[in-house]
């Protein structure tokens, strides 16, 4: 299929003797919200880390926009247009919210050490653009009032939003969201689903890893189910919800 944006082909990864991921192949199509679900320890975050380049796979291949990106370093993956959020929010705690998002502009800007030290006019202009773009994104996510606040002073739910803003600032083609609903209450989760839909509608493809089914079933176009490092089912949410194997692992029946 020509509209496949990201594809993993039989990825393998083990830690010590534990096989975290055993031959997982998934496809993410352009413009869709794809979810990867599964119980704790199913290998969801490992799969993410293999795609984002945090750890290299032992076997298998990752292709993005037809290009082989297996074992690329995270910064190179980010430059290609894959942004991510983390399961436990990883903000830059002592920087302001605005600065956090400004760091997100890094792969789309270029001023180096020398230009930075001399504060050349082009550097200054670029910095103004970075700031303007970051403010625009903050305004879009309703965070503009917190722009000058230190990131660690924000309540947890807002911190998660800042992480979204920071990832969006990299102008991603594909957004990897690692358990975005973890630790959020039901209202925040609802807002989050709306946000993810809004992001998708702007043409950014989303790959969501989620432990909790409700968010996934409401927003995703396609779901893959992992259990013990293997893909056990894949399809539209309605089909997945009725899949006996999925029901078995989720409800823990014999």
């Amino acid at each position: 299929m020509d509209n496949v944006l990201l594809e993993t082909k039989s990825l393998h990864r083990s830690f010590g003797g534990v096989h975290a991921i055993k031959g997982v192949s998934i496809q993410v199509r352009k413009g869709q919200i794809k979810a990867v679900i599964g119980p704790n320890g199913a290998g969801k975050t490992t799969l993410f880390n293999l795609i984002a380049g945090t750890i290299p796979p032992h076997e298998g291949e990752v292709t993005f926009q037809g290009r082989r990106i297996t074992a690329w370093k995270p910064h190179a993956v980010a430059a290609l247009g894959i942004a991510r959020t983390f399961q436990t929010t990883k903000l830059f705690p002592h920087m302001t919210v605005l600065e956090n998002v400004m760091v997100g502009r890094h792969p789309r800007t270029r001023s180096g050490f020398l230009a930075g030290m001399l504060n050349l006019p082009c550097t200054w202009r670029e910095d103004c653009e970075i700031r303007a773009k970051a403010r625009e994104i903050l305004a879009d996510l309703g965070l503009i009032k917190s722009a000058e606040e230190t990131a660690s002073n924000l309540p947890f739910g807002r911190q998660r939003l800042v992480e979204f803003a920071r990832a969006l600032a990299t102008e991603p083609v594909l957004l990897l969201l690692d358990e975005p609903a973890a630790g959020l209450n039901i209202y925040e989760t609802r807002e989050l689903s709306e946000l993810i839909l809004k992001i998708r509608d702007r043409g950014i493809t989303c790959l969501v890893v989620e432990h909790d089914m409700s968010l996934v079933m409401n927003i995703s176009d396609d779901v893959a189910v992992l259990d013990q490092g293997q893909k056990i089912a894949e399809g539209p949410p309605r089909v997945i919800q009725r899949d006996p194997e999925v029901i078995r692992i989720y409800l823990g029946e014999g």
């Binding site: 995270p74 910064h75 991510r84 990883k90 903000l91 830059f92 890094h106 606040e149």
Partner: protein, 384 residues
């Protein structure tokens, strides 16, 4: 921050420098300027280390080594006598370009050696190269491991300068000629040049501060701070963490080398004591007491503490004072003296006190942050 607001402390310090010079000249105490000048060259090391440690979060216990490489390179190149090789075409050619010059040393002997400018540039290139070679394997290490590795590097440099005959072993290298920056401007430690050199040193420090401040507020500076605060997140946002850490390590070494090279011309000599680990520890202690990620704090502390040390105020406890500073800072204010949380607490009690006194009304706790932002006595919200 607007660009001008960022520079006002530069103007303030420049003014203070002029006032201090006037005061010392009027009171006929210009000899103090010698130690201020030397402290300023040490401050260059501290500014570089502050970028590396305070902002990028990478410790180095080997910065005295880079200072020494800068200093020893200019000392060696400007004093090595090439008179025996004067007929070698290469030396002859360098002499025709004025890169090698003939001069008389203190004892009236003829010396044919490199002139200071090429020696200075060579010192920077050599320091940059060594920092790169050390940094490539070492900068991957984190925390204590990086500290230990750079400590090892510092020890090696110390033993090399102490053990190499051509570097003067325990005596170091003396008779280093003055450095003519411009025909009418020279780095020279003799008494008639005191005021001139006081200004040269301060100009260098303020230039270094402007470069460092610009860097900190730039795209690169944000990337460096992001590495310090969460390396994994920085990496995922496209920051090539390894390359940035390596680059700031080399840059920081270059700041130290400039300090070492200028100090050597100023003193007319350099000895192995400049390469000791105690010196490296001292630089780290100064960055810590200055507030870690606080360039102005680091610079002011560098001038102040080195000045006191050079005046002999600490006596035989010189190194012990810096050790004590490290212990005290780590125990009571790991964020640095200028960022001590207790000061914030005191300041906020003071603000609240004045608020109660004038308003005679308790602010409701729910809207406390809003209230304090609106209060005329606060300094602009939670960060005031």
């Amino acid at each position: 921050m607007t660009p001008l607001r960022r520079y006002w402390p530069v103007a303030a310090i420049a003014l203070a420098v002029i006032v201090l010079q006037a005061a010392l000249s009027v009171t006929d105490a210009t000899y103090y300027m010698t130690q201020v000048t030397m402290s300023a060259y040490y401050a260059l090391v501290v500014i570089g280390l502050c970028l590396l440690m305070g902002y990028a979060g990478q410790v180095s216990l080997g910065h005295a080594g880079f200072f020494a490489i800068g200093g020893y390179t200019v000392a060696y190149m400007t004093t090595v006598n090439l008179l025996a090789y004067r007929d070698v075409p290469l030396v002859h050619w360098l002499q025709s370009l004025h890169l090698v010059v003939q001069w008389q040393n203190l004892y009236g002997a003829e010396v044919l050696s490199f002139s200071p400018w090429p020696a200075f540039i060579a010192a920077l290139l050599l320091t940059g190269l060594i920092a790169l070679l050390i940094g490539v394997p070492v900068i991957r290490l984190k925390g204590h491991y990086l500290a230990m590795a750079t400590l090892g590097f510092g020890l090696i440099i110390y033993r090399i300068v102490l053990g190499t005959k051509s570097l003067g072993q325990a005596d170091g290298i003396s008779n280093v000629p003055p450095f003519h920056l411009l025909p009418w401007l020279e780095v020279n430690g003799r008494a008639p040049f005191r005021i001139q050199n006081y200004y040269i040193a301060w100009a260098t420090v303020l230039l270094a501060m402007v470069l460092a401040i610009n860097l900190v507020h730039s795209r690169v500076g944000r990337a460096l701070r992001s590495i310090h605060q969460n390396e994994e997140a920085a990496h995922s946002l496209g920051v090539n963490t390894y390359r940035y850490k390596l680059a700031i390590f080399v840059l920081s070494a270059l700041f130290a080398a400039v300090g070492g090279a200028l100090m050597t011309h100023y003193n007319g000599s350099i000895g192995p004591s400049e390469a000791t680990v105690m010196k490296s520890v001292r630089y780290v202690a100064i960055v810590a007491i200055g507030g870690m990620a606080n360039l102005w704090g680091a610079m002011i502390m560098a001038i102040l503490l080195n000045f006191l040390s050079l005046r002999g105020v600490f006596g035989t406890f010189d190194d012990a004072v810096f050790g004590a500073i490290l212990i005290a800072i780590m125990l009571f204010a790991p964020q640095g003296l200028l960022r001590m949380p207790k000061w914030h607490a005191v300041a906020s009690v003071w603000r609240k006190g004045t608020f109660y006194f004038f308003a005679r009304k308790l602010p409701d706790t729910a809207g406390e942050s809003e209230k304090s932002r609106m209060s005329p006595f606060s300094r602009g919200g939670p960060h005031g």
